[in-house]
Symmetry: C2
Subunit: 222 residues, 2 copies
Amino acid sequence: MITSTVENYVKQIYLQQQENPADLLPMGKLATAMNVVPGTATAMVKALADSGLVDYEPRGGIRLTHGGEQLALHVLRRHRILESFLVEILGLDWSEVHEEAETLEHAVSDKVLERMDHLMNRPQYDPHGDPIPTAKGQISHIRLMPLSDMAPGTSAQVARVADQDAAFLRFAEKNGLLPGVKFSLISSDSQADAVTIRLRNKQTITLGGKAAEKILVRKKTG
Amino acid sequence: MITSTVENYVKQIYLQQQENPADLLPMGKLATAMNVVPGTATAMVKALADSGLVDYEPRGGIRLTHGGEQLALHVLRRHRILESFLVEILGLDWSEVHEEAETLEHAVSDKVLERMDHLMNRPQYDPHGDPIPTAKGQISHIRLMPLSDMAPGTSAQVARVADQDAAFLRFAEKNGLLPGVKFSLISSDSQADAVTIRLRNKQTITLGGKAAEKILVRKKTG
DNA sequence: TGCCCTCTTTTGAATAATCAAAATCACTTA
DNA sequence: TAAGTGATTTTGATTATTCAAAAGAGGGCA
C-alpha cells in the first residue's frame, strides 16, 4: 500500500538521487535523510523493492524504478503546488510553508490540487524557485549555477534558493534574495570564502561560501 | 499520542453522543459508526480512557470527558472550516467536500486554518448549515426543527441539511434546498409519509418522511 | 595475509490499529 | 431459575513502522 511513509521515502530517494544521478544511492544517505537508523532504511527499502518502486542491490545501494520516479514526481508536485498556494493565496511566509506542505502533501486529493493549481494560474515554479512537475510527471531540468561559481563583474538573477531551513529563508527574504531578483557580483575571494553582490536597489550583501552555494542563479539574458 | 485515528474516534463519539446526550454511548453504536468490528472499538476505547479522553464503563458505554469534547470540537472546527473553504474558495461542490475534509482535517495546522477562516471572513456555519465551533471550543446549540415536524401552512427557511451522502446533497442542491432558502409547507400527510413544500420561486417539492427529517428548518421570524 | 574500520544487514522487540473468533456477561422469557 | 439471545470483551494474529544492538561484508593498510 502507498502510505505517506512510502511517499516520503520515495520522494527523499528522488531528491537524494538528484545530487548524484549516476550512482546508486547508498543506504546510509537515505537513512540520514529520513532520520531513521540504518536498519529501518534497509527494511523499508526491501518493502519498496517488493512494490516495484526501487531497484535494490544489497550492500550496493538503491535507485528508483520508473514507477518510483513517477510517484516521487507526483508527491513533489503536490508539495510544490501546496507551497505556492500557501504563500500566494493564504499569505503564509515562504520560510514556513515547507513544513506545512510536508504534511498536507499526503492529504490533498488530485481534485483539490487541480483547483489550487488553476486558481494560481498554473505556476511553473514554487516560492523557492523549484520547478513544479506536471500532472503527467514531467519536470524541467534546467542546470542552474550556484552564486558561489559566478565570475566577478557578471550579472544574474536569483533563480532558486536551495534550502528549506526557515532561518536561512528568513535571512534571504530580509535581504531581498528572492527568486527573480537581479544583481551583479562585485567581488569573489576564494581565500576569504566570501562573495559580495549588489542588488538593483544598491544594497550590497556578502555571503560565505556555504550560503552562496544555496543561491542558484540564472545568467541575465539581455 | 493523538493520531488521526484518535481524532476520528473522538469526533465520532461526539457526533453519536449528540443524538442522545443523556445516555452513555454503547460500544456497538461506536463500532458501527467507525466501521470496525466491536472488539476493535473496545480496544481503542480503553486507550482513549487511558488518555483521559473518555469515561468508560465496561458493558455500559462511554462518554467524552471535558478534554475529549474539546478535542472533538477542534476536529469538528477544522472539518467545517475546510468544507467551507473548499466550497467558497476552491469552488468544489458541497456534495463532495465532506470526503475531502475528512482527510484534510488531520493535516491542516492551526495557522493554515486560521488563514482560511480569515480569508472567508470567519463563517459561523459550514455549507451544510452545521455550526462551526470557535477556536476556544464553543459551539452553538440551537435546536432546529425537522421539516417533517412542521405544521401545514407555516413558513420557514432551510437551516441545515443533515446528511453527508453526496447523492442526497446533489438532489437537495438541484431542488434548491440549500441553507437559507425560504419556503412554506403546503401539505403534510402522515399516512402517505409525505410533505409538500413550495419555494419562493413557486417550485413545489414533495419529500418522503426520511428525506424530510434530514432537512432542518428555522421558523421564519417576521 | 590478517586485522580493523565503516557501512549494511539481521534479529528481536515495541507500538498503533485492526480482524476473526471464542468467551463472557446481562437480560429476557418461558 | 434455566436457557437463550444479543451485545461486549478477550485472545491470538497480522500489518506497518520503528529502534537497539549484534552480526556480517568489504576494502584499506600494515
